[in-house]
């Protein structure tokens, strides 16, 4: 078993000074020179939100450690108003997530002494990474199960909240208990404007190639590509590849999910940057 890689937790400032919490995983021994920008790689992991963040936390921490062992410096962080970051979830808008991702990239560059950053997003984080890639110009992008259409996701969130409310015997669905423009989504405060922002997002209506090698990761009951996955991969351009992994979605599971295959494919894809290969995340 390799020696555990150092993990450092702390806060870094968002562009408006809001303290954002992050955990930095130092590059492991496979990096010939961890602080050599020509060899090391810097990774930022953009997480999901709400219940999905909680469920995905362990898997993303494992992914970070795997990438760290592979020689990458990896920063996991919490958006403002979530986890241990400052700020109010009920005041957060989509533009704030984008600004926080920006700040995380800056922090990762500083911590790893690497100019080029690879972005890895999961669910809402994947959608964020894809919509911001052209602006942030990452070296590589990994999008794990991105939310394709914000309107669909908002509808599903509302339905799930209603389910939980009924199963839990609550008087009214949580999302209906609004206070001054702040909705309650299963105990998480959400600005009503955040739902409005999300509903405008449609990865198909304005597909934009990230301008860099991109790995789209589909995790589902399917062994082959779902039509929407194929469509998005095509829309993302010739530098995009799709990895289909048959597994239960780790962002939906309370108990540990098997993410070994996902981790292996992502590490392979990110490491390919070092050798100059495009990398497909294939088996």
């Amino acid at each position: 078993m390799p020696a555990p890689m150092p993990e450092t937790s702390g806060f870094f400032p968002a562009t408006d000074g809001t303290p954002l919490y992050g955990v930095y995983h130092s590059p492991g021994s496979r990096a010939s020179c961890p602080h050599d920008a020509s060899d090391g790689r810097s990774v930022v992991i953009a997480p999901p939100l709400f219940e999905e963040r909680k469920s995905a936390y362990g898997a993303l921490a494992q992914l970070a450690r795997g990438l760290s062992e592979a020689g990458c410096g990896v920063l996991r962080f919490d958006y403002r108003g979530s986890g241990e970051s400052g700020g109010e979830g009920g005041q957060r808008r989509w533009k704030d997530l984008a600004a926080d991702l920006d700040a995380a990239c800056a922090a990762a560059r500083k911590l790893s002494d690497c100019e080029q950053v690879t972005l890895i997003g999961t669910r809402l984080g994947a959608t964020l990474v894809l919509t911001e890639a052209n602006r942030l110009k990452p070296e590589r992008v990994v999008a794990i199960a991105p939310m394709l259409k914000g309107a669909t996701e908002v509808r599903h969130w509302r339905l799930r909240s209603k389910m939980r409310s009924e199963l839990g015997g609550a008087a009214a669905p949580a999302s209906e208990r609004a206070t001054e423009g702040v909705l309650d989504l299963d105990g998480f405060p959400v600005h009503s404007g955040f739902f409005d922002d999300l509903q405008k997002i449609d990865l198909f209506s304005e597909p934009a190639p990230a301008g860099c090698p991109t790995l789209l990761v589909q995790i589902s009951h399917r062994e082959n590509a779902a039509p929407d996955s194929e469509r998005l991969t095509s829309a993302l351009g010739r530098q995009a590849n799709l990895a289909c992994i048959k597994a239960l979605p780790f962002w939906e599971r309370v108990e540990d999910a098997d993410t070994g295959e996902m981790q292996r494919r992502i590490v392979e894809f990110v490491r390919a940057a070092r050798s100059g290969e495009q990398g497909t995340g294939s088996e």
Binding site: H156, R160, M163
Partner: protein
């Protein structure tokens, strides 16, 4: 399967999408999916998404209730209400 009963299609969909380690035939039409098979909100949501993708059926907030998804028979009733031809052809 040609002319497969809607209920059988739903059981197949449920086992496949939830990656359950069981045969679809083990699920009775009137089994309480929550009480007997331990389905939670996440899995019920997956069934809702399955109905959207497989049967083209979309439920609004006001159309959904846990009761409608408690049994395969109830889910089939939801599908037939939205699409009377569902399950009548391959």
């Amino acid at each position: 399967m040609p002319n497969e009963r809607l209920e059988e299609q739903l059981k197949n969909m449920l086992v496949e999408r939830l990656m359950l380690r069981m045969q679809p035939a083990e699920i009775g039409d009137t089994d309480d999916l929550i009480e007997k098979w331990g389905l939670e909100s996440v899995q019920l949501m997956e069934i809702v998404i399955g109905l959207e993708e497989v049967f083209g059926i979309q439920l609004g907030d006001d159309e959904f209730s846990v009761k409608k998804f408690r049994t395969i028979a109830n889910i089939a009733a939801v599908v037939r209400e939205k699409d009377p031809n569902a399950g009548a052809h391959a």
